[in-house]
Amino acid sequence: MGLGFAVGVLGVLILGHAAYSTIQYRGLLKIMEEEFSGPPMNVVLELLLAFLFCIWAALSVPGKFLPINPDSEENRIVSLPDNLDFMIFNHRAKVSLSEIGLKLKH
């Protein structure tokens, strides 16, 4: 989480620097009276780097996917509740039903 966030911030900073470089390049072109045909090579490389960093951040920062299948490892209930001493397994239905004559399985 922390590392991904830092990488994302770094990517955004590189993006800002690339934007600033492009603005400067436009200013240079204006002085030399040339037309803008495409951003310079170092800006393209910076953008690519920033994009990769941001993909990393976008995939790692939000957290992990949780499995949705009820039979997957993490969703299986393996621990018993803590208040086992207070659980009641005998209740009046056992007595009343046996009086009537129905037998309950134990």
């Binding site: 994302g8 990517g11 955004v12 993006l15 690339a18 934007a19 492009t22 603005i23 436009r26 803008f36 495409g38 951003p39 800006v43 393209v44 953008l47 920033a50 994009f51 941001c54 993909i55 951040a57 976008a58 995939l59 920062v61 939000p62 957290g63 996917f65 949780l66 499995p67 949705i68 299948n69 009820p70 997957s72 969703n75």
Partner: protein, 120 residues
Amino acid sequence: MAGRSDSGSSEKKSSEATNDVPTFSAENLQSNMKIIYYSRTFMSIIGGVVAGILGFTGLTGFIFYFLVMAITSVGLIAKAKFSVNSYFDSWNRILLDGFMGGLMSFVLFWTFAYDIVHIF
């Protein structure tokens, strides 16, 4: 999780047709969807800024958006360890959800970055 899986198990003996109803943890699915929206929104903002700095106009920018979303989808599938069915109930969740909302963010930041870099 409770309601759907319970009804599925209780009717298991009565009819075979209800066994086909998929059971899954709705809470975990919702959490996964939130992660998907987060990633897509962030990637469309970043993609918009990149498209603006590169100076894309018109159709090129929208093609770039499709490209970015495709890369994001591949990244998300890789994040799900290529077993999409254990984290989502259908492929459309991972491929299409958040696409239109992301497009709005993309266009906003695309024009924003383009204006800052190329016009002012």
